[in-house]
């Protein structure tokens, strides 16, 4: 009993100092650069993958009509509002004719005057003819001079020419009147096709130049999506491939569609391939033109082949490969990769066989002489 205090102290010392020391050694060896690196592994599997392309596009109308006057003028009225449905031939608005109506009225009067002049010329011609004929008879009867007969004949010719001129003048005046009427009707803004008014650029009273659009129409029956695929991810894009369309306003709602056209021109600046995708069935209500849409184009499924996770791909010394686990040792194996799908699977063409074990995730960049610790999940990753 006498020696208990010492033993008690020794015991306490052991209880406190030994764990401390053990902890210290653990800390020194198991943390920091000397610690083994946690990795997860997987085996190369044979799988059929379905590659797909992913692109971003905007809803556009196939046909857009920009309607405006053919000559400069002031807009008098505009009868339609954005959102109105219009039919082909419908008058949408009118330019201000200014003095055109007065000119038409003047032209009318001019026509009437020309008609009157024509009547006058006819009367002159008829009288001149009668006169000419009578003096010819008188000459036959030798009751007048030849000279007088010649004068009368001449008068008749003048009257005929006058009649002709009056008739032509009437035609001219009539045509001018028609031209004015045509001009007048051209001031009307008429829908060239059935469509939806999408824009109303100017309001009545505004002066517009020739060719400036006053309203814009689109054909709502013909909406498509102008999609841009990055050229790297555009391999295999062809017409008629099925596509999935997700509109930005309706995230989560997948609509069917198909590739209508792959544009022959790619965008050289943005390095994108352009394509048009149309809806199988137009959404109701119609999406606004310009809305963003995400397009996933599914390519035909590939035959089964060895497949790895794309998270396993590393670049070491300029070579693409994966860390191959052989008997617990790491070896960097360069691989040749094939097609990939959007879910992170990549075909392996060369370098690995089915069943080979490889590192998928690692807590650090790996090197060949590093110690690894195979775990189910890298520490810190929550399921």
């Amino acid at each position: 009993m006498k020696s208990l205090p010492i033993q008690g102290r020794t015991l306490a010392l052991v209880v406190v100092l030994f764990p401390l020391l053990a902890l210290f050694i653990y800390v020194a060896l198991r943390s920091g650069p000397l610690a083994p690196v946690p990795v997860t592994v997987a085996r190369v599997k044979t799988e059929a993958i379905t590659p797909a392309l992913f692109g971003i596009g905007t809803v556009e109308a196939q046909y857009t009509y920009k309607i405006g006057p053919t000559s400069a003028g002031r807009l008098k009225r505009l009868d339609v509002e954005v959102g109105d449905l219009v039919r082909a031939g419908q008058v949408l608005g009118e330019m201000d004719p200014i003095d055109l109506d007065d000119r038409i009225r003047a032209q009318d009067a001019a026509g009437k005057r020309a008609e009157a002049q024509l009547s006058e010329a006819k009367a002159r011609q008829a009288y001149a003819q009668i006169q000419a004929r009578r003096y010819e008879q008188l000459l036959t009867a030798r009751s007048t001079s030849e000279e007088i007969v010649a004068t009368k004949k001449h008068e008749l010719e003048v009257a005929v020419a006058g009649l002709q001129a009056a008739a032509e003048e009437l035609v001219r005046v009539h045509s001018e009147g028609k031209a004015l009427l045509a001009q007048r009707s051209n001031l009307k803004i008429v829908a060239p096709s059935d469509g939806l008014v999408t824009l109303r650029h100017v309001d009545p009273g505004t002066t517009v130049v020739a060719g400036q659009a006053v309203v814009e129409l689109v054909d709502p029956a013909n909406l498509w999506i102008n999609v841009r695929f990055d050229q790297i991810h555009a391999g295999g894009l062809t017409v008629n491939l099925p596509a999935q369309i997700v509109l930005r306003s309706q995230a989560g709602e997948v609509r069917g569609g198909r590739v209508l056209r792959v544009e022959p021109y790619a965008d050289a600046v943005t390095e994108e391939t352009l394509a048009k995708v149309e809806f199988n069935q137009l959404p109701e209500p119609l999406p606004p033109v310009g809305e963003l849409a995400e397009i996933t184009v599914a390519l035909p499924p590939l035959p089964p082949a060895p497949v790895i996770a794309n998270a396993a791909i590393r670049r070491v010394d300029g070579k693409l490969g994966v860390w191959h686990v052989m008997n617990g040792d790491l070896r960097f194996t360069p691989v040749a990769l094939g097609l990939a799908d959007l879910d992170g699977s990549v075909q392996v063409r060369e370098g690995l066989k089915v069943g080979d074990q490889y590192v998928v995730y690692s807590a650090k960049a790996l090197t060949a002489d590093i110690r690894i610790d195979v775990v189910d999940r890298i520490p810190g990753v929550t399921p």
């Binding site: 020194a28 943390s31 692109g55 943005t270 959007l342 992170g344």
Partner: protein, 401 residues
């Protein structure tokens, strides 16, 4: 031979261990401090390692893309790709910004990576979960330090991104976790202001008579369109073909393309030497202060312990104990205190402090060894005051009067 120091420690081990633990926490802070510095350097190096580049091509006369802003046209890479010795050239953008996820937002460095596949320069070189980006838009790989989880939806500017993969130790030089998104999205994110700002800008343009001319229909649209694109990236990451000297390739790019090019060594110098130099000095100051505080504390503790034993020391001297024995008593106690402190410090720094620090704390074994040496030296030096006091004790004091 008997170890007086050991017996004294054993006698009052509770007090001693307690003091040692206190000192240990201080040493732990000191080690963490060194760890923070190493972490900063490592962050910088991780940033360079993770980019997978041999050369950084940036705007002329800038220290970009990390230390200064840099912008070059996004088609510059094409001409670089054609230079001899260049194995690959990849655009990259970096933008430090708040990324929103649900209610919270996290400060991250959003990195735009050029389209391609895993292994391309700029892409995260390894993952800890999920997969690499496969879609050209609206997918993100985030560093685990951001707290994002697989499947989370992030908001960067006005677009939403799904987290498809997680990485680790992918941080900016200031320790912000990186979020990798496709380059085009990142360019847009860099350019895009909020919707109000865009609206205001359009309105201003529309009201400018120079751009909105009735005689020239379409001019306004063209101007606005030209304002709404961002054909810039921050840098081009270049990988060198094996067998070529990176300095030679860099020089030819500098000469013929009139761009600034940094090699790995130069980049490291910029990041470590310039970007974190002030912070490093700050930490060095902290280390010095902590060392001084630690030695002051050790000195004080040992001095107090010695003063408490002054009678015994007088008796020891009176009965003929050698000075050496007394010096050894004090010095051994000091060193023992230092050892306990170091062990406790190392453990707390590794297990308690390093994980809770928001920034990466890298505890290098070599630093620990140096720290250990420093602790021993500091303890020996600190015991000098106590030793002087002990040696000055007059053995006559033991005899009353």
């Amino acid at each position: 031979m008997i170890s007086l120091a050991g017996r004294d420690i054993m006698h009052a081990w509770g007090k001693f261990v307690f003091t040692g633990v206190g000192l240990g926490l201080l040493i732990g802070v000191t080690l963490s401090m060194a760890g923070i510095y190493r972490g900063m350097v490592d962050d910088a190096k991780a940033l360079l390692d993770n980019s997978g580049a041999d050369l950084w091509v940036v705007q002329q006369d800038t220290l970009g893309p990390y230390a200064e802003s840099s912008s070059i046209y996004d088609d510059t890479w094409r001409s670089l790709r054609g230079m001899p010795g260049v194995a690959s050239a990849a655009n990259v953008t970096y933008l430090t910004m708040q990324v929103r996820q649900g209610e919270r937002d996290v400060r991250t460095m959003v990195t735009g990576v050029t389209p391609g596949a895993a292994g391309t320069s700029g892409w995260p070189p390894y993952l800890v979960a999920g997969r690499q980006i496969t879609r050209g838009h609206y997918e993100a790989v985030a560093d685990i330090a951001s707290g994002f989880k697989l499947g989370d939806t992030l908001q960067i500017r006005r677009n939403y991104y799904t987290v498809v993969g997680l990485t680790r130790r992918m941080v900016s030089s200031s320790g912000d976790p990186m979020v990798f998104i496709p380059l085009k999205d990142a360019q847009e994110a860099q350019f895009l202001k909020d919707n109000d700002a865009i609206h205001q800008q359009r309105r201003r343009t529309a009201e400018n008579p120079a751009f909105n001319r009735p005689q020239v229909p379409g001019l306004l649209d063209a101007v606005i369109a030209s304002q709404s694109i961002n054909p810039y990236v921050n840098a081009v990451l270049v990988q060198i073909e094996s067998g070529h000297n990176s300095e030679v390739v860099a020089e030819s790019i500098r000469r013929w393309k009139r761009l600034t090019v940094y090699t790995r060594n130069q980049m490291e110098e910029i990041l470590v030497g310039k970007l974190i130099a002030t912070s490093a000095r700050q930490i060095a100051m902290f280390l010095v202060i902590l060392s001084i505080v630690s030695s002051a504390i050790v000195a004080f503790i040992i001095y107090t312990l010695t003063l408490g034993k002054i009678r015994e020391i007088a008796v020891l001297k009176l009965i003929g104990t050698k000075n050496r024995t007394i010096i050894a008593l004090i010095m051994q106690q000091s060193v023992a205190l230092g050892l306990i402190g170091f062990v406790v410090g190392k453990i707390t720094a590794t297990l308690l402090m390093a994980p809770i620090f928001p920034k990466y704390v890298l505890l290098e074994p070599l630093d620990s060894v140096i720290g250990f040496g420093a602790v021993v030296v500091i303890c020996i030096l600190s015991s000098i005051i106590a030793i002087r006091a002990a040696l000055k004790v007059d053995p006559a004091e033991a005899i009353g009067g």
